[in-house]
Amino acid sequence: MIIGAAAGDVPAAEFFRHVGLGKNSFPGLRGPLVAVMSETSSYHAEDGLYEQLVAYLDGELDAEGSRQIERRLAEDADFRRELQHLQRTWDMLDELPKADVQESFTQTTVELVVQSAAHELQENQQHERRTQRFTWAIGGSGVVAAVVASFWLLSSYLAHPNEQLLRDMPVIENFELLRVADSMEFVYQLDETGLFDEEVDDAL
């Protein structure tokens, strides 16, 4: 509580400190302010009574809360006076002038927003373009990689279409001889001796 439960100068000092004023600020105000604070503090002391009074003025109390405040108002002249003070202070806020806004303000504001929207659109387009470019780059790289791989595989196949046949040529040529061999192991041993190398080279 700024204006606390205790009467006197201490709550007022808290209020001054709260609003950032030193002891010597507003010397003319300090006296009356302290007096008024002392006057109202008795209602602050009563459990939430001041809050209830303000809420009553603001139309924020339920039926039971309103009845309690009205009962107190009927019984307590000081409480009635406090309500009147609060109401008059509230009414004084009507003295504050309402802003008279010129047409240029509306125009400037709308222009500002249009600029912002244009900027936003530009950013979105840039972002979209960047995303598109990235997608194209990824897709393109994939396609290029696939083409290169296919080309390499195809070209390597096309460059030596009969490679396997040529490699097998010595076997084909010596098929009759090899047929009489006892085992494949024997044939491999012959191959390792380099017997067929010359014939393979000739075929390639």
Binding site: F15, L53, E60, L86, E95, L96, L112
Partner: protein
């Protein structure tokens, strides 16, 4: 804030400004302009009382409208439009006040404080305690007194008070705009009104001041 399925259509039905904002969400520029026209005066009135400078208040109001526009795509009608707008205004104003306070701290030089007589409320208080003949306060003087009294409130008290007075918001709506519980708003407004009453009490009796030397000061 999570919204129940029941509240959303209610706001849309009850609040025409919510319907306008939903059109803004669909990029309707005319709807946005209509909202600016409806709220610019109210917004600047509140912001001017908060920051005390008309040009700053206008800049802040534009910032608020800009934020409204930028947030249009994610807008969901979970409250009255004015509550949503003043939630944004509260954030924008709080940031601006923090920045202004920092700047003021930097600019403050020792011994460079305002003299007490430069402050209208202080001046009038001094006059009230003097022995000069009384005179009726004119409207602009009364407005000055009220403005100065409002400046004595804390930033949050001021905001709550202005939303209550000028926007006619309920405690629940103020709570939504300021991210406080209704009970906290009740306490805040009670303190605000008590402080305001204390500050204005000496000057509102019969609307008179003692002395006529305001112009002389």
């Amino acid at each position: 804030m999570a919204l129940s399925e029941n509240t959303t259509p209610n706001y849309e039905l009850r609040d025409p400004d919510v319907r306008l904002m939903l059109q803004v969400r669909e990029n309707n520029a005319a709807a946005f302009e209509e909202l600016v026209l409806r709220y610019q005066g109210r917004l600047i009135t509140v912001l001017e009382q908060l920051v005390q400078k008309r040009d700053v208040a206008e800049d802040l109001a534009q910032e608020v409208f800009l934020r409204v526009f930028r947030a249009r795509k994610s807008y969901e009608p979970g409250a009255k439009f004015s509550t949503w707008l003043f939630t944004i205004a509260n954030n924008v104003a709080s940031n601006a006040l923090r920045t202004l306070a920092r700047r003021r701290e930097v600019n403050l030089t020792p011994g460079g404080q305002q003299t007490t007589s430069a402050n209208p409320l202080d001046q009038m208080a001094l006059e009230a305690s003097g022995l000069m003949p009384t005179r009726q306060l004119d409207r602009s003087e009364r407005a000055d007194v009220v403005r100065q009294a409002i400046q004595l409130l804390s930033e949050r008290q001021r905001m709550a008070l202005l939303l209550s007075k000028f926007e006619g918001m309920s405690y629940a709506e103020i709570g939504e705009a300021m991210e406080l519980s209704p009970q906290a708003v009740k306490s805040l407004l009670s303190r605000a009104r008590s402080n305001l009453r204390a500050a204005l009490e000496p000057y509102m009796k019969e609307g008179v001041l003692k002395g006529t030397h305001r112009e002389e000061a």
